[in-house]
């Protein structure tokens, strides 16, 4: 019977020796990269931090870590509470505009966190612009996409039949959720929660604009100590706390990630709204409208705010940004952002592809382990800590690299590496070993097998990964704000600088830069989406 073969043929476990051999040799490149640009700076930072273990008992640092932890916990719970119903609306139903609404939920995720924070600030009532509440709301808004992706994927693959079977056995909607849906989703919810907690714990761009001066989080404090106060020891002590706590969270929740991911099967058919009950139809329609509105309004707010100087609406902030006597050289900042993103994307994709290749094809456990470490270490070390580590590690010969232009794209590559290597590895694993076997039985040499099978099947995923890396770089603010220098200021750096300065026109210009950056990110995504989907048709 045909149904018994469904789902087979996607696992690559068979060993192709030339691939394994290549994997062992290629490992040296990512290992060197992560060693020099992540491990070494992190260790330098850690050593500084340990000098001052006493400072950790310092009341100010302790309360910062405590606040960072609990705001992340509340943000995570809020994100799940909002995200799970959104995932239900978007993955269990088919309705006109579903794809658009789904794409909208991804918008905050592809936008720089700094821009999202600013966008949020424009739509909040003036008394509520900074503090815990706006920070938590913005975190939920940013990370709903994570829940929709991870939990939604699992939900989509859950056959509707289980729900129907439970109903015929007497289970009402609540009981069905508890006994059928929840057990299926639990692992993915834990995985999504862990990831969201990590993002919220290492929050930086959002916190810079929303948390307010009386509520500093770990990352903004590291920045303040290192850049504004010049207290590297306090910065390092916080960085240590950051690395340790994120490491713990990751260790607890990572098994769930793997478990959840291994479940991907054929998607169940979503419910067509036309055939649903009236109550469900009304609920889903209302849900979709609310989701769309919530995701569009802050963006509109951002654009409107860039047109306001003081209390007047004017184009002057925009006009000034293109002028010559101004504190924002928009064209220069755009050029710097794009150039940095290009270099960072190339570095990330080269290193990330190698990491993925080794993970998928190495036969030795040690080799695979090192490759996995190359992917995990940059997750544990947050962007601000990467920046701090660069400052501390690369200032003495033979590695006196202070002020080198390429440090910035390299730091972005470190930040983007895990995302990129994971994306590429997932696609590499999808290539059936038998395709390669077929090619070799037809006379293709190992190199030929790689170029004719792997390389051509990976072209699109690698294209997507390049975009991802460029997006991360365009919006990167954590490492950038520690490495910023005059001369090659990117858009995010410009926003950070302008926000910190008084004056209505400068504030408005920060929003001009934010609108331009948002437009840049969105058009990049739209362009790639068009190119990649256009190929299929």
């Amino acid at each position: 019977m045909a149904r018994s073969v469904a789902g087979l043929g996607v696992v690559t476990t068979a060993i192709l020796t030339p691939y394994a051999r290549a994997a062992r040799r290629l490992l040296v490149v990512p290992a060197m990269f992560v060693g020099v640009f992540t491990v070494w700076p992190a260790v330098t930072t850690l050593r500084r931090g340990f000098d001052l273990a006493a400072t950790i008992t310092d009341g100010g640092l302790r309360s910062t870590v405590w606040f960072t932890t609990w705001q992340a916990a509340i943000s995570t719970v809020s994100t799940l509470v909002v995200g799970i119903p959104v995932a239900w609306v978007l993955t269990r139903h088919e309705f006109v505009g579903r794809r658009i609404v789904r794409a909208l939920t991804l918008v905050p995720f592809v936008l720089p966190t700094l821009v999202v924070g600013l966008a949020f600030r424009t739509v909040l009532p003036s008394g509520l612009r900074t503090g815990v509440a706006p920070l938590v709301i913005a975190h939920a808004f940013l990370n709903v996409a994570v829940v929709v992706r991870i939990v939604g994927a699992r939900w989509e693959s859950q056959p509707r039949g289980f729900d129907d079977a439970a109903a015929t056995l007497g289970a009402g909607p609540v009981v069905r959720f508890r006994t059928v849906t929840w057990p299926a989703l639990r692992a993915s919810i834990v995985a999504a929660g862990g990831l969201v907690f990590m993002y919220c714990f290492s929050t930086y761009g959002t916190a810079r604009v929303l948390a307010g001066p009386s509520r500093p989080v770990a990352e903004t404090e590291i920045y303040r100590f290192a850049v504004l106060a010049g207290d590297m020891r306090a910065a390092s002590a916080l960085a240590v706390a950051q690395i340790v706590l994120v490491g713990i969270v990751l260790a607890i929740t990572a098994p769930g990630t793997r478990h959840g991911a291994s479940h991907a099967t054929t998607p169940a058919r979503p419910v067509t709204l036309r055939n649903a009950t009236h109550a469900r139809r009304a609920g889903v329609t209302l849900g979709a409208v609310i989701i769309a509105a919530v995701f569009v309004i802050p963006l509109v707010g951002l654009a409107v705010r860039s047109l306001r100087v003081g209390d007047a609406f004017t184009l002057s902030a925009w006009r000034n940004a293109f002028g010559s006597t101004t504190s924002l050289h928009l064209v220069d900042a755009i050029t710097a952002s794009i150039a940095t993103a290009l270099v960072a994307a190339v570095i990330t994709v080269v290193v990330g592809t190698l990491v993925a290749f080794v993970q998928v094809h190495a036969t030795s456990r040690t080799t695979r382990g090192i490759a996995t470490a190359c992917e995990v270490i940059p997750v544990v070390v947050s962007a601000v800590v990467v920046g701090l580590g660069f400052l501390l590690a690369f200032r003495e010969s033979p590695v006196d690299w202070r002020g080198r232009w390429w440090l910035l794209p390299v730091s972005h590559a470190v930040v983007a590496l895990p995302l990129v290597s994971r994306t590429i590895a997932a696609s590499m694993r999808q290539i059936p070993q038998d395709l390669r076997n077929a090619a070799s039985t037809l006379g293709a040499s190992p190199l030929r097998v790689f170029s004719s099978i792997d390389a051509s099947l990976l072209r699109r995923p690698i294209g997507a990964a390049t975009t991802l890396a460029a997006l991360v770089s365009l919006g990167e603010f954590g490492a950038s704000s520690l490495l910023s220098r005059r001369g090659n200021e990117t858009l995010t750096m410009a926003i950070g600088r302008l926000l910190g300065r008084p004056g209505d026109i400068l504030q408005a210009q920060a929003f001009v830069a934010a609108v331009v950056l948002a437009a840049l990110c969105l058009s990049l995504v739209a362009f790639v989406d068009r190119v990649t989907t256009g190929d299929i048709g």
């Binding site: 129907d164 439970a166 015929t168 056995l169 007497g170 009402g172 006994t179 057990p183 299926a184």
Partner: protein, 225 residues
Amino acid sequence: MTTPGLEVDHVNVAFGDSSVLVNVSLRLERGEIVAVLGPSGSGKSTLLRAITGLVEINSGTVRVNGVDMRGVATHRRGVGFVFQNNQLFPHLDVADNVGYGLRIARAPSAQRHARVTELLSLVGLPHHGERDVATLSGGEAARVALARSLATSPPVLLLDEPLAGLDHDLRYALAEDLRRVIRAAGSTTLVVTHDPVEAERIADRVVRLVDLSDELTAELSSDGQ
């Protein structure tokens, strides 16, 4: 005259613009086993789903033991359903799958265990309670699905191609078993299948789906030629 166990009265179901069931009527006496025959895509599954309430009917009536099911949610209908691909819950073992409905009905644990044991022996799988459902063969999974649906002794039992996916010999052997088990349970039973031999072995009475609806009959016979 006694109230029928299951009555389908001029039921219409349409998905958007396409009519799937047109004026379908069918009547089963209490405890009767009826098989409905029809090719795939003829709306057999839809008929069963309409009876359980998993599909909304546009017009017509479904009655279980004389009670109109209009507005009654699926989980309150007392209609058992054996799904085409069994739909055994992957996170529960065999015993917990069979006992699921009893747990929902808050049956005391001792009673539940006794009933699960009884049903597993009835379907020929004694001592299989702790098995992972993923390890069951096709025939075993079909038996567990049947046991699960019968556990709460539903007044009406529906079976959607219960033996599809099994190989030939096993299928007819299982058909006899199925009849014996259903008879023992006493539920009014409607089974849909595309296989006339299977239908004959399971049911007291066999009808063709096309014969249940005047308009459908006319349409299909003119299409068929």
